[in-house]
């Protein structure tokens, strides 16, 4: 457990208390990581088990008796023990002995005949398991190697970030330029529209003034033509027309 320092949000009364001495000290009753030993990699299994002679007696027993009695010692011990058991009838010979003898004969014959085949089969099964495990291990090692390669490539790619940033900066500059020009065009159009309006207004005003003036002049002129003048001008026009028609006749 680690004792946290006093939280700033604690009430003032708590904060005014003297601080505990063990603030910041790691409370452990067990030392951590003091020895070099680690659980992996696990040591491999031994190849062969302990030696057993005749399938029943460990080899260590023969080695134990060898200094004192030599090679035949344990066999003499076995024979003596057997005779003692039989003669004192601690081991009783009855129907079960016969049954045991038959069973043991069959078993030993079977082991001697089929032992190696069964052993080879079991070894093959083991080999397959081992091969699968080793293949898995190699695959994961390979996958991690590939991951390392990919990571290195990514690091190399990251070195080109300057080009990327330059391209992005160019893009942004172009956008800004485009935007600026668009707005400039907009401003120009708006101003032109307003100026055109003013020009059109002036033209219109001028045109209207002209028309009005012409109308006024015409109206006054028409008004000034008295009926007398009108008759005189119509008579004169008729006489001119007659003269013209005469000259036209003559020309034809």
């Amino acid at each position: 457990r680690v004792l946290c320092p006093l939280v700033p949000s604690a009430p003032a009364a708590l904060r005014a208390l003297p601080r505990p001495v063990a603030v910041g000290v790691l409370h452990t009753t067990r030392p951590l990581h003091t020895s070099q030993q680690s659980l992996a990699p696990v040591p491999p299994l031994p190849e062969k088990g302990g030696e057993v002679r005749h399938g029943l007696i460990p080899e260590e027993f023969f080695q134990f008796l060898y200094p004192k009695t030599g090679v035949t010692g344990p066999y003499m011990l076995g024979t003596g023990l057997l005779l003692y058991l039989l003669s004192k009838e601690i081991y009783v010979i009855n129907h079960e002995t016969a049954a045991a003898a038959c069973i043991l004969t069959v078993i030993i014959y079977g082991i001697k005949k089929f032992g190696p085949q069964v052993a080879a089969f079991a070894d093959k099964l083991n080999e397959e398991k081992m091969a699968a495990a080793v293949a898995l291990k190699n695959e994961s090692i390979q996958a991690l190697q590939n991951a390392i390669e990919e990571e290195k490539k990514e690091q190399w790619r990251a070195e080109g970030r300057n080009y990327l940033f330059d391209a992005k900066r160019n893009n942004i500059a172009m956008l800004l330029e485009t935007n600026y020009r668009e707005r400039l065009l907009m401003v120009y159009n708006e101003v032109k529209k307003r100026l055109d309006y003013q020009v059109a207004m002036q033209n219109l005003k001028q045109q209207k003034e002209q028309e009005y003036m012409i109308q006024w002049v015409e109206k006054n002129v028409v008004q000034s033509i008295t009926p007398q003048q009108q008759k005189e001008s119509i008579a004169k026009c008729i006489m001119d027309l007659k003269a013209l028609s005469k000259s036209a006749h003559a020309a034809v």
């Binding site: 062969k48 302990g50 029943l56 081991y91 009855n94």
Partner: protein, 88 residues
């Protein structure tokens, strides 16, 4: 001066005959101790004869032989009656 080994830490084969009584008295006879001793014995046998790459028949047949002997001892009082001679 050779390093003195406490009697508690000596193995059974290194204990002298005279020290056998005191050595036995020092052993742990609590239930936990007995279970620990059985577990250690089992682990020793298992790791020596069975938990190997190419195990043989010996590991299993020794256990079978031990069982045969034990069951003969348990049924001796019954087998006694098949003896051929009464006095040996």
């Amino acid at each position: 001066l050779p390093a003195a080994v406490l009697l508690k830490d000596t193995k059974l084969m290194d204990v002298k005959l005279g020290q056998l009584g005191s050595w036995l008295a020092m052993r742990d006879f609590t239930p936990g101790g007995i279970m620990g001793a059985m577990r250690r014995g089992y682990d020793r046998y298992y790791n020596k004869y069975i938990n190997v790459r190419k195990g043989g028949l010996g590991g299993f047949s020794m256990v079978l032989a031990g069982y045969i002997v034990l069951s003969y001892m348990w049924s001796y009082s019954h087998v006694k009656h098949d003896r051929r001679r009464k006095y040996h």
